[in-house]
Amino acid sequence: MQDVMEYLIALFLIVSGVFGLVGSFGLLKLGDPMSRLHAPTKATTLGVGGVLIASMIHAIALEGKASFHELLITLFLFLTAPITANFIAKVHIHRNETPQSMPPAGEDRLWATHDVDKETA
């Protein structure tokens, strides 16, 4: 049983390491900001997630106690990662796109970040 758990922990650590590596590689390799935005999300979700699961298993199986810190970290990650990505995307649209270069925004007038131009446009 102990060994199974240790293998499991190792597996999650390897998975997280691989995704961390992939995420970092993608950040360097991919061309434009919108594509690059995808790479770190792998590192934050799957990469960090793997470490956290490994840590929880470690606590339960080897230390004999339940640990919930990891859930809290997950919660914070789930809160911060999308916001960060959202802001990066917004900045990108704001700086590199014009209202004309974007697809129609539907009933909500313009794309939010270009909203300021609605009076002038």
């Binding site: 916001i83 009933e107 939010a112 300021v116 131009d117 609605k118």
Partner: protein, 952 residues
Amino acid sequence: MSLFLIAALPFLGACFPALLIRAGRNASAMSAGAVSLLALIGLLIHAPSVLRGEVIAARLDWLPELGLNANFFLDGLGLLFAGLILGIGILIILYARFYLSREDPMGQFYCYLLLFQGAMVGIVLSDNILLLLVFWELTSLSSFLLIGYWRHLPEGRQGARMALIVTGAGGLAMIGGMLILGNIAGSYDLTVILQQRDLIQTSPLYLPALILILIGAFTKSAQFPFHFWLPHAMAAPTPVSAYLHSATMVKAGLFLMARLWPVMAGTDAWFYIVATTGLVTMVLGAVIALFKDDLKALLAFSTVSHLGLITMLLGFGTGMAAVAAVFHIINHATFKAALFMTAGIVDHEAHTRDIKRLGGLRRLMPVTFTIAAVASLSMAGLIPLNGYLSKEMMLEEAAHTAWLQSTWLVPALATFGALLSAAYSFRYVAHVFLGPERDDYPSHPHDPGAGMWLAPAFLVSLVVLIGLFPETVAGGIVAAAAGAVTGGDLPEYHLKLWHGLTPAFYMSAVALSGGLMLLWGHAHLNRAWTNSPRPEAKTIFDAIVGTATRISRILTDRLHDGALTRYAAIFVAFTLGLAGYAWLSGTLGPQTRAPLEIAALPLIGWIGVIVSTVLMVAFHRRRLLALILMGVVGLVVSVSFNYLSAPDLALTQISVEVVTIVLMLLALNFMPKETPRESSPVRKTRDAVLSIGAGLGVGGLIYALMRRDFDLPTISEYHLNNSYSGGGGTNVVNVILVDFRGFDTFGEITVLGIAAIVIFAVTQAVLSGPVRGRLLNRKPDAPQSGDAHPLMMVVVTRMMMPVALMVAAFIFFRGHNLPGGGFIAGLIAAIAVVMQYMASGFGWAAERQHVPYHGIIGSGVLVAAVTGMGAWLAGEPFLTSAFGYVHLPGLEKFELATAALFDLGVFLAVVGAVMLALESFSRFAWQPGIAPEHAMDINPARDLDPKNPEEV
């Protein structure tokens, strides 16, 4: 009544008139009068024993290490002066009630007056010269407020400034003199100093001490050449002139000379400096007074002249002259205060103080005329009024005083001074009240109500009574006070009207008849006087002050021109110079510690800091990028604190980092995103040299320090050992903050609060000016984002707020034993709120914020202070903490410490200060009335059919 209470009563009572003015002017005046009366009664209780020759003392060791003790003592001299101050104070309070008009803020007036009264009583009762100096400066400050009371008048403001500069500068000189004196005597207690006559007079420092102290006394008592401020101080309301400039403050200098008479007087230096200055002042003041047309200016210069007379008597250094001086102090206070009050009445009723426009008032104002006539005839020295008695004694003393072997000089000049004095006194009566009635007064004069003439009437009744029965009315107090001046032995003397045909009588007769002749020939003399060139003191004074201002402005403009880089350069260069001096003059011990191998993690951090610093130099022109690079440095520092087992510091650093970055971003919002190129190559080289030098210096210093053991044992050991047993906490950092060095922390949160309030005040000042309009109309230099409040951000921050506050609470509560504490918790709570401001906008957040941040700061400081004062209840010093363990059923045993309450104060102050600063910055961008469009207050049902239009 304890002397402490007598001295403290006016200070304590100063708030009553200011508060009671809401209940009306009578209530305000009555409260001020009651306070003075209470203090006077307390003083008079001691009078019988003091008149018997006893000395009442009250002692309290305040800062014995510095020789500063709150010691008071009351002897004859103190009783005389304190009695004058409090007694005339009551009369002035009565007079001012009717003198001040409805527009004047009377509560403020009485408040200042009582502050002044307290400072004066403090001077005359102090038994410690350091304490005396404190009160001395307080009189300068409070008289500044009183002279400038009519602050809408430029003369009032200028006069107040001039008085403050002259008496304040004199006070500074006196501080030096007093310190020398205390140093010679080996104690700052007057009772000790007064026993050391031989020691002091033989000391080589006697002369400097004497000169410095005399400068203080002469400036205060308006002696030549410092006499010029007194007439300009006449811009004050008349009650102030009557109180400060005739009876009390200008006599403080005389008091001091009299007080130090036993140890200072009797030397040649004393005689020539003091007596000569007095003589010159007496004659000069009298000459100028004779030609003044403004009633108050005339009285002001006559005061200068009489103060000179008393100074001269003190300068003679004989026991009999001391008696005459003390007696004349009493007499002058009575008739001069009365004269000032009558001048005020004339001004109040006729609406002018110009003698040329007055005359013939005796039928229109019979009561005022009687009072003024008696008082000025006493000033002239006419038998049988009290001025005659002391003038006779003065002339008698002058008659046998030789000045540089010349036996005629002093008597002749004294007679001349008395002659002029008689002349201007006669003029005051003749040109104002006698003569034909006129029909062109600015206002039709008539006698005022009893409230205004009662006070001067009381004083002139004293004038007459002392004149007729000197021994009965004033004999006791004169003997007691003169005894205190001379230090015990008094010559045989009699206070009586008729001494026979003495030389003094002839001199007096000459003076009076000469005075009448001068009055007769005044018109001719006046023409000659106005045509002769005279130096104008105010022009000279203004020129000196102007030059000083110019020089300091040049200096300030050079050093303090508003460029932060210049301050930084001066500061760094100075520090480098000091450090260089220390390096060259000191010695360096041997290295005792071996260097450690560098581990991988610190190496990465180190490289990170260096790279970001280098990048910072390269990219500093792009401000946003620079901010990010700064953030990198901050994060590495936080992480390294954590690595080096300082979790408290790491937590603090990281939360401070967040707040700082937010603040900077806010500020950047109003600035160009790029720094303009403005440094010349020379300047860049200078800055490079300075910063590299400073950086290498600090690095070298730290390296040298880390390679050596400390010379002396550090205090850390003590903190570690006593943290749990003494402070009840295992988190040493927190125990240091709230317990060991709690007083520091208390000071720090106070400063933090003040800084935040200053930021708020500056913002307020800027926004109330034209800047506000410019800010509202400014065109941003880059296109602004359309949704300032992105939906996702808004949702998340609102969700995070309770979580973040919970974290703050957690950090706060565990702070005493584990990393955390009020300061960090405060920062986290502030961040929780800042998130709302950032995400949802200032307007949205401000609408939901109901407690003003000022109040939070104030409550924090108060909570900390009250917690600290709680220790007094247990008889312990301020901020002593206590802790205990409580066991409640259902809970584990837990600890309660007063330190936690103190920490709560820290928490509140930090939250308030951070938020107030952020809010102040935000207000620059905020446009009131423009609702944020994209915050979450958009009704999601806006496109559906509105059932209730209010909801949309």
